[in-house]
């Protein structure tokens, strides 16, 4: 199960927040294939947002092939975004945790850390541009936005 948290002051539309939080949960493995998403009623009872907003987010995710609406049953995860390297106990996860601790210990702010990671990602992707031509779901349009 997933609990959505809607940040009303962020300027990000609520349906986008729902999609992003679901994608993050899929990436981190908190949600797995076959899991049921909360019903629109459950989400709005917890977040006090318009029910149509929830339905729109679920429809968007269905079109992206991440979930499936089964009539009378609910909305179910049909595809995982989890990669072996992103799991809790993976070596990559351990290394980045250590690395973040070192960066913090050297006095880097959150924004500095993010900037370093983004720069390294950009540099890497530019070098290997042709290898990653088809963006993964959840990566939609990210390249275009950055350009």
């Amino acid at each position: 199960m997933i609990d959505y948290r809607i940040d009303r002051g962020s300027g990000v539309p609520a349906y986008v927040q729902i999609v992003e939080q679901t994608e993050r949960a899929l990436r981190m493995g908190f949600l797995k294939v076959g899991d049921k998403l909360p019903t629109a009623k459950e989400v709005v009872a917890a977040t006090a947002i318009n029910p149509n907003t929830v339905l729109r987010a679920y429809r968007d995710m269905e079109q992206a092939g991440l979930v499936e609406l089964r009539r009378g049953l609910g909305t179910f995860v049909t595809r995982s975004l989890a990669r072996p390297g992103a799991q809790d106990d993976s070596p990559l996860r351990r290394e980045v945790t250590d690395w973040v601790a070192r960066a913090r210990a050297e006095g880097l702010e959150r924004a500095d850390v993010l900037a370093l990671v983004t720069a390294a990602l950009d540099a890497h992707d530019n070098e290997h541009d042709n290898e990653h031509d088809s963006p993964a779901p959840g990566d939609r349009g990210r390249k275009k936005e950055d350009a």
Binding site: I6, R8, T39, A40, A45, A48, I49, N50, P51
Partner: protein
């Protein structure tokens, strides 16, 4: 179904109303439609006619001129009273009744009564059934009044400032209760409020009253998409007004910041930001302060 004959939660044609003693028109020549299945925000400054409109829709007042339909029915008729619930600002409850008595009254007064739903709403607020209504906090009183209104299982729920006097936690809880009701039963809701940020993610339709007129009645997302907050050189103000409808503009030195309704592509070197619903509503509410602008706007619209 969006034609003139499609069912509407609220539909006003030439609606007018004046309080005899005060003499002025509280509502005049109102024309608008709120479709069914919407959660509509009724917004306007004090005295704009919001409470009057809700009282008319609830059948507590009778239209002076024109017509107001609720779910295609005349307000105040037996059928309309069964399908429409109105929660007024004063939340008329008997202070000496216990919560249980109040719910029993609801059951006796309504032919279709959902006791489970009414009791659940009270229960979720942690309100003891034996407590006297007069001794409850404002938030809990609102919850009891809401239980009374929702126990009827209305198709249209009219709420006059349900969030006023409530602390932020209670406001969130009441709003969540309303959203859950709409999600489960597709209830149409019209609620008046001054708390604009709380309308942002809850309402999908907006009805703005200004000086007794219906200024706007539109889908919230359409409003966000058709409006833009522009920042640019002040000397381009006239060009802008010629191409688009300037709802509100402010000049600071050489810089102009304007909320516009787009009438085509934006030409020129403007910094464009997507407005929040709150920005748009404030823009329309504030124009009242600037006499003459309304005429200018109407001229622009005629020319467009």
């Amino acid at each position: 179904m969006t034609g003139p004959d499609a069912p509407a939660a609220l539909r006003a044609t030439g609606l007018g109303f004046r309080y005899r003693r005060r003499g002025g028109w509280a509502l005049r020549d109102c024309e608008f439609t709120v479709p069914v299945g919407r959660i509509a925000a009724l917004v306007g400054r004090n005295g704009a006619g919001k409470s009057t409109l809700l009282h008319l829709a609830g059948g507590l007042l009778r239209a002076g001129s024109g017509e107001l339909g609720v779910l295609g029915l005349a307000p105040g008729t037996a059928e309309a009273r069964a399908r429409v619930a109105l929660l007024t600002q004063d939340k008329p409850l008997y202070p000496r009744f216990t919560v249980a008595d109040t719910l029993l009254m609801g059951e006796k007064l309504n032919s279709s009564w959902d006791r489970t739903a009414a009791e659940r709403i009270v229960h979720e607020g942690g309100i003891p059934l034996h407590a006297r209504v007069g001794e409850l906090s404002p938030g809990r009183r609102t919850r009891v009044a809401l239980a009374l209104a929702l126990g009827k299982r209305p198709e249209l729920l009219l709420l006059d400032e349900p969030l006023a006097d409530l602390d932020p936690v209670a406001r969130g809880e009441i709003m969540a209760e309303l959203m859950a009701e709409a999600a489960e039963r597709g209830t149409s809701i019209v609620l008046s409020s001054h708390v604009l940020p709380e309308l942002e993610e809850t309402c999908d339709w907006v009805l703005v009253l200004r000086d007794g007129h219906a200024e706007l009645s539109e889908d919230a997302e359409t409003l966000r998409e058709s409006h833009a907050v522009l920042t640019g050189p002040a000397d381009r103000a006239d060009d802008l007004a010629a191409q688009h409808t300037v709802v509100q503009g402010r000049t600071a030195g050489r810089q102009l910041t304007a909320l516009v309704r787009r009438r085509g592509p934006l030409r020129g070197d403007w910094h464009v930001a997507r407005p929040r619903l709150e920005d748009i509503l404030i823009g329309y509410l504030r124009t009242e302060e600037e006499p003459g602008r309304r005429d200018a706007r109407e001229r622009t619209e005629a020319a467009a």
